[in-house]
Symmetry: C2
Subunit: 120 residues, 2 copies
């Protein structure tokens, strides 16, 4: 319901870092993903959602895990959403988030030399 944004993440990107030098736009795309993960709170949010039973977690669960205000958690969730790493869906009173594992897998593949060249 927060209207899924660009989803830049999906077409990001690139053969492994060590195979050939990234060009500038590839680097910009990739850096958006890394930027989204470059915060301890967001990493924990991601991990909480990913490891939660059923593959999704509601915001209320997430907020309780931190000493931060609601708006701050909401802000971090928005950053993760806009980077394409998670999606949120409202069901009745609560909003549930789940991760996009393919995006994490892509990112993972970029870091190591052995993996998929770039499936599409």
């Amino acid at each position: 319901m927060p209207k899924q944004l660009p989803l830049v993440a999906m077409d990001a990107c690139c053969s492994p870092l060590a195979r050939e030098p990234l060009n500038e736009s590839q680097a910009v795309e990739l850096s958006k993903l890394f930027k989204a993960m470059a915060d301890p709170v967001r990493l924990r949010l991601l991990s909480l959602i990913a490891s939660h039973a059923g593959g999704e977690a509601c915001v209320c669960d997430l907020t309780d895990a931190f000493d931060l205000t609601g708006p701050t958690i909401s802000h971090h969730l928005k950053v993760l959403r806009e980077s394409g790493l998670i999606t949120g869906e409202r069901r009745g009173t609560w909003v549930y988030y789940r991760v996009h594992p393919e995006v994490l897998a892509r990112l993972s593949a970029v870091l190591v030399p052995g993996d998929t060249p770039v499936p599409a």
Copy 2:
């Protein structure tokens, strides 16, 4: 010679994100690595070094690839060094950098569910 700093990266960290929730200190450690990679210039530097013949590149090669001043490149290399992703060595007039592939591999493993639990 720029004196290898903490190398925090080596003991960072963690079973895959989706296996169990990261605790706070794990998240802080991991976020340092992601922060180091959360910039297009640093990603390209990393990629240039990793993909360079012989596995190393001298600063002069790197500087030429960007429209940025020497000090700026030097600053980014320092960030990468302090995160443990690369090392620099002076040989005569030039300084050569190489990446630590194990650190990238660790990071990669954290992102996907299937991989090594956490070898130690």
